[in-house]
Amino acid sequence: MIKRVRFHGRGGQGMKTASRIVGTASFLEEFFVQDCPLYGAERRGAPMVAFTRLSKEPIFERGIITSPDINMIADETLLGDKSANVFQGTWEGTITIVNTHYPASHVRNVYGVVGEIVTLDITEIALNVIGESVLSSTAAAVVCKLTGMITESSLEKAVIKELSSINLKKELIEKNLQAALTCFDRIPETHPHYFEPIKEDKMDEIVKLEYADPRIGTPSVYAKGNTRLKKTGNWRLFRPVIDHEKCSRCRTCFVYCPHSCISIDEGDYPQIDYENCKGCLTCFYECPKKVISKDHEVRAW
């Protein structure tokens, strides 16, 4: 039996490490296993995916998982992001797990999710136990439990091994472990609806390509100004907020913003374009008066 796990998150949330923790836990259980992140031109905050395959038999697959058995959506703002395409290839046998405070029924109704759905606010658990919204261990723990094939002790060893390999301090690893075990416990052992329906092959067909006009058959973009159509505000994990009452109008934030998301208004005050601010927090760190605060983005959808 093979389990294909797909992780959706944003750069910096820890989904590559999550896929590796599940990979190592499966390895410790002596399964055949593969894990890999998909790198494009991603940066912190951009949608990204990672994959883990675990199986009791040799794995005759590689690369992208187009149809997951377990689909971990670690960032709820991705649900509405068409380009992230988080429900791609989900089917009756998929268990989708969404990191949100909303109940599963709500997510199912809003997005018409196919297959089983589980929700758990792992960000809240991470913030409470670890003190940061880094989701590698918590997401991995949820997935490990949902596979039904990985023990708590393998998860524990895998969290320690993977977090040590990225040079995390011992006390932080301890906290991650505690958060992971909390999540492992919160997912029920046998969910009544987890089942293994038989999947039918969807058959595609081969087509013959014909010569196209070179204005179409060459990699060129003719549509103008389309970069502006892609709003990047939903990349944000934290929202920088300027306290205008204390702001000295020094323009440091305006100069440092790498995405030109800060403009100067008529009163000479900096204003943030929240539709596009990616939440890199450069302004927060650079503000000489320290009058910019950061608010955690919740209930973003």
């Binding site: 005759f60 590689r62 690369g63 992208i64 187009t66 390509l209």
Partner: protein, 413 residues
């Protein structure tokens, strides 16, 4: 010996470390960078006793690799795609110097359009350079092949550099369980490099890679490279035999999968082969006698072995994960050339192009290949080279073209 979860890149770094290389000239490029980052870290931490130099380009990097190897140092380096092409000129030079270094290429489709995912136009563009070429399917094979490559390259019957290929992303960033052999076993297999042939020494001045005017000298040396490359067919099997004896894992120039009673054979290379093997298993479940050959040793090309495997088969389909515009698949030509004079060659040999820029090759594609082989047997007609492209792919590109804007719309005549 320990078993660990390693990416292909990490496995390559382990291969270099276990080979106790002396020198690593480097230049970063995605998806290869993790290899040189890992080596640089190990050398910095004193876990590896080698000299690491970050160069200003791949051209300098390959020059440095070749010249260092010419002093008798054991040299390792890695690159990918555009980087390999940037150093292209020097590939032909270092083979001409007959220096036994090992270079890993992490395959990535060539620009333009620019991409990060794999196909083999980068590595196959160097097929005539004189480098020995071995293409790996798994992360384990990457590590093992590096150990084998030094044995092959440093053999007095060869003395040519080796290029080892692994697919970007599918191997480079994918972790899977890999056995890391213990140092003692590796030392038994790969002794310290003590070159007997000419090499630079301060006390013993000489010239290497000298200019020759007049074709007879040039022809002589070029043909020597060809003969050296052909010797690898024997040397590879000897080295593989010894590798198996010490490490228990067995590699042949061509890997045969369910080939013995097969009537229809698919030929592939590199990591996508696993998709072909899965397809063969599916066809077999349905009673079709399918099999697969994986081309591992690409230069020299193991023609005799291939002929023996394919003798008497009904039909063969070569999937080239590369394209030579205006000609078709590159490996298809090597396969057909190898088979042409065999009186008992397969009845039909078909050519397909697939997996360009990392495009998936799904079951629909494999089903199409087998159907085309059957049809060709029935009708006696062999189709032209076909691109493995599906209705879904076409929908996808049409969607993208739509976003990109159609310049033909609203055009006045």
């Amino acid at each position: 010996m320990v078993k660990e979860m390693l990416t292909g890149n990490y496995a390559a770094a382990w291969g270099a470390r276990l080979s106790e290389v002396d020198y690593v000239p480097a230049f970063p490029i995605t998806p290869q960078t993790e290899i040189i980052e890992t080596l640089s870290q190990w050398i910095n931490d004193g876990e590896m006793n080698a000299k690491f130099t970050n160069m200003d380009s791949e051209h300098s990097m390959i020059t440095a690799a070749g010249t260092a190897a010419a002093t008798g140092a054991r040299v390792f380096s890695a690159t990918s795609s555009q980087g390999l092409l940037y150093g292209y000129e020097m590939l032909y030079n270092v083979t001409g110097w007959r220096v036994p270094l090992v270079l890993v290429n992490v395959s990535r489709g060539l620009s333009a359009p620019i991409t990060l995912e794999p196909d083999h136009n980068d590595i196959l563009s160097t097929r005539d350079s004189g480098f020995i070429q071995i293409h790996a399917e798994t992360c384990q094979e990457v590590l093992d092949t590096i150990l084998m490559a030094y044995r092959i390259a440093e053999d007095e019957r060869v003395l040519l550099p080796v290029l080892i290929n692994m697919d970007g992303f599918y191997l480079s960033f994918t972790r899977e369980p890999v056995e890391i052999p213990c140092k003692d076993a590796v030392s038994r297999f790969l002794p310290e490099y003590n070159p007997k042939h000419a090499f630079f020494k301060a006390s013993k001045p000489m010239s290497q890679g000298v200019a020759v005017l007049g074709g007879s000298a040039y022809s002589y040396f070029k043909y020597q490279m060809h003969l050296a490359s052909l010797n690898v067919l024997t040397v590879h099997d000897e080295v593989a035999g010894e590798f198996k004896r010490i490490f228990g894992r067995s590699y042949s120039a061509t890997e045969a999968f369910k080939i013995d009673d097969a009537e229809y054979v698919i030929i592939m290379s590199n990591s996508f082969t696993i998709k072909g093997k899965a397809a063969v298993n599916k066809f077999r479940e349905k009673g079709l006698k399918a099999g697969l050959l994986r081309l591992r040793l690409i230069r020299p090309f193991p023609s005799t072995e291939l002929k023996a495997f394919l003798r008497g088969k009904k039909a063969v389909a070569v999937i080239d994960q590369n394209i030579s515009p205006g000609s078709g698949g590159i490996l298809f030509k090597d396969v057909t050339t190898a088979l042409y004079h065999d009186p008992d060659r397969p009845e039909r040999i078909l050519s397909f192009i697939g997996g360009l820029g990392g495009k998936d090759i799904g079951h629909a594609e494999f089903k199409h290949i087998v159907e085309e082989m059957e049809k060709s047997i029935e009708t006696g007609i062999v189709p032209e080279t076909q691109l493995l492209y599906t209705k879904n792919d076409l929908e996808h590109i049409n969607n993208l073209l739509n976003i990109a804007g159609n310049p033909l719309e609203g055009l006045e005549n």
